[in-house]
């Protein structure tokens, strides 16, 4: 309880320090919404040239894009900051974090509270609502349950990817942009039907790393479409379990990373 209050106080402080740069904050707020607008816009532009991409129509593709957008915005809002870990490791800020009586990960996340990313979450869910209206979905209780869980599962999965990519800095401080291949790359990968990708690339990202379960499989289950790639219909409902598995892996890697940092002191 006391610990929760401590985290709340940290969050409040961070909010106040963000507001101390008011002009920049407003620009950041709107450009973050802009980022999501452009993601959606890119999909619309591509569909100007054709009416089917990878065998899917615009409304169907947009459903996948928007599940990803909503989930990614939520993940980026909550744990996106963790990609600053390499900066903290290099600057020694992590040492200061470790001498405080709170958990290291929550402290790092609260060191730069991204209020600017909040509107983006709202926008992401807005697009999802529009995409749901554009498709004719045969609503069953199972699908209602799925659409409430799917964006959250996507967020949990993508958050785990954020933490995993950032943990890389514990072993390799100069990993630079490597992490974004999986975080932002994962977002872009799951914004389109995975049928567009070549078999090897798809096999790696979609099935080995699990990105198929972020938006593609849930969208198929919502639409009631069989998977052209051959996975059974229930695969869409596996999304939350895949997300939980990813979270467990991320937690283990993070703990190992902290232990490694403490034994090498970077």
């Amino acid at each position: 309880m006391g610990e929760l209050r401590a985290y709340a106080a940290l969050a409040g402080a961070q909010a106040r320090s963000v507001f101390s740069y008011r002009a920049s904050f407003l620009i950041e707020l709107f450009s973050n919404v802009g980022a999501t607008v452009f993601d959606v816009l890119s999909v619309l532009v591509l569909f100007r040239a054709t009416d089917r991409v990878g065998g899917f129509t615009l409304p169907e593709a947009l459903l996948m894009t928007s599940i990803t957008s909503a989930g990614f915005a939520l993940a980026d809002f909550t744990v996106g900051n963790v990609d600053r870990l390499k900066v903290y490791v290099r600057a020694g800020t992590l040492d200061a974090v470790l001498v405080r009586p709170l958990g290291a990960l929550p402290q790092l996340l609260l060191m730069d509270l991204p209020i600017r990313k909040l509107l983006r979450v709202v926008f992401g869910f807005g697009v999802l609502a529009v995409a749901l209206r554009m498709n004719h979905i045969d609503w069953t209780p199972a699908r209602v349950l799925l659409i409430t869980v799917a964006p959250i599962a996507a967020a949990v999965f993508l958050s785990s990817i954020f933490v995993l990519s950032a943990s890389l800095a514990f072993w390799w401080v100069d990993s630079g942009e490597l992490g974004s291949a999986f975080t932002y790359g994962g977002r872009d990968f799951t914004s389109y039907p995975i049928t567009v990708y070549g078999p090897l690339f798809r096999g790696l990202f979609a099935y080995a790393l699990g990105f198929a379960f972020v938006s593609y499989q849930p969208a198929l289950a919502l639409l009631g479409r069989p998977d052209p790639l051959g996975l059974p219909a229930w695969a869409g409902f596996a999304a939350p379990f895949v997300a939980c598995a990813a979270a467990v892996v991320a937690a283990v890697v993070w703990r190992t990373g902290i232990r490694h940092y403490r034994s090498t002191g970077s």
């Binding site: 407003l26 802009g34 990878g54």
Partner: protein, 286 residues
């Protein structure tokens, strides 16, 4: 008399023009060498570029496959492959993102030290950026292009002038990109914290510069407006269109001339802004 006094003060024995060319060259060299020390980050960044190359290439090829005639925006599939992979290579040559050095120096006040040097800050930063771009061309440009050419059917140049024109276009693109970044960073002189403008730039430059999709996929009026009214297509789309031979030789030359126009405009603008900022700095003491 005046001339004689001036000659007394001159330390270097070479003429002033040759002297400043030497200085500029030295600054370019140091920009180049500085990036050779970031070898691990270069490897990591290249890997990321390649992953995004696969992503974009597959998506665009899928779009082409669904288009009647298979030429979205007037690009044949092999031209799209050239567009995507050269774009991934050029991304870090023109350094669309991630330059906040000036803004950071303004925020911390270190920029005052730049004013003490005998070289104008704009010149010094431009030289360093050209050196960085040269390093990028050698290390970051080639790997994605090679991967793209090996994994996808890529269009090879068919006209003799394509390669030299492409190189000129890349050089100008670096200057245009630098000019934009400098102006965005310089907002920190007035705002203290330039994170907002930098983010806005990061966002707009990628989409409207032609990184995510070829700008010709937009309605024609929008594309033309972008080219004429903003410098953004001059940063990525123009050199890429030159390399993919999207247009006839005359139009290509025209697009490069347009790039040159923007390069000059932006440098002049940056110089004016810098002068104003310096006056402000001197008067208000940072």
């Amino acid at each position: 008399m005046v001339g004689k006094d001036a000659s007394v003060l001159t330390i270097s024995t070479v003429g002033p023009l040759r002297g400043s060319v030497t200085t500029f060259g030295a600054l370019v060299g140091s920009g180049f060498r500085r990036y050779t020390t970031y070898r691990q980050a270069t490897i990591a960044g290249t890997f990321t570029n390649i992953v995004f190359g696969y992503l974009r290439c597959y998506v665009l090829l899928a779009v082409a496959a669904g288009t009647v005639g298979g030429r979205p925006g007037g690009y044949a599939p092999d031209q799209l492959v050239t567009y995507v992979w050269l774009g991934q290579g050029l991304l870090s040559v023109v350094m669309l993102w991630g330059w906040a050095e000036l803004a950071e120096r303004i925020r911390t006040g270190d920029v005052a030290a730049d004013l003490l040097r005998p070289v104008a800050p704009l010149t010094a930063y431009l030289a360093a950026d050209l050196g960085r771009a040269a390093h990028g061309m050698l290390t970051r440009f080639i790997p994605p292009v090679v991967v793209g050419a090996l994994c996808f059917p890529m269009r090879m140049p068919t006209r003799w002038q394509t390669v030299p024109l492409f190189l000129v276009s890349v050089l100008i693109a670096v200057v245009v990109s630098f000019g934009c970044r400098y102006l965005v960073n310089a907002t920190a002189y007035w705002l203290q914290d330039a994170r907002g403008p930098i983010l806005l730039w990061t966002l707009g430059a990628g989409v409207l510069g032609g990184l995510y999709f070829p700008l010709r996929l937009l309605p024609e009026s929008v594309a033309v407006t972008l080219w004429l009214a903003t410098p953004l297509p001059s940063i990525l789309q123009t050199p890429l269109d030159v390399a993919a031979e999207r247009d006839g030789p005359a139009l290509q030359l025209g697009l490069v001339a347009l790039q040159l126009f923007w390069a000059v405009v932006l440098l002049v603008l940056a110089a004016v802004v810098q002068k104003r900022a310096e006056r402000r700095l001197v008067v208000q003491g940072g």
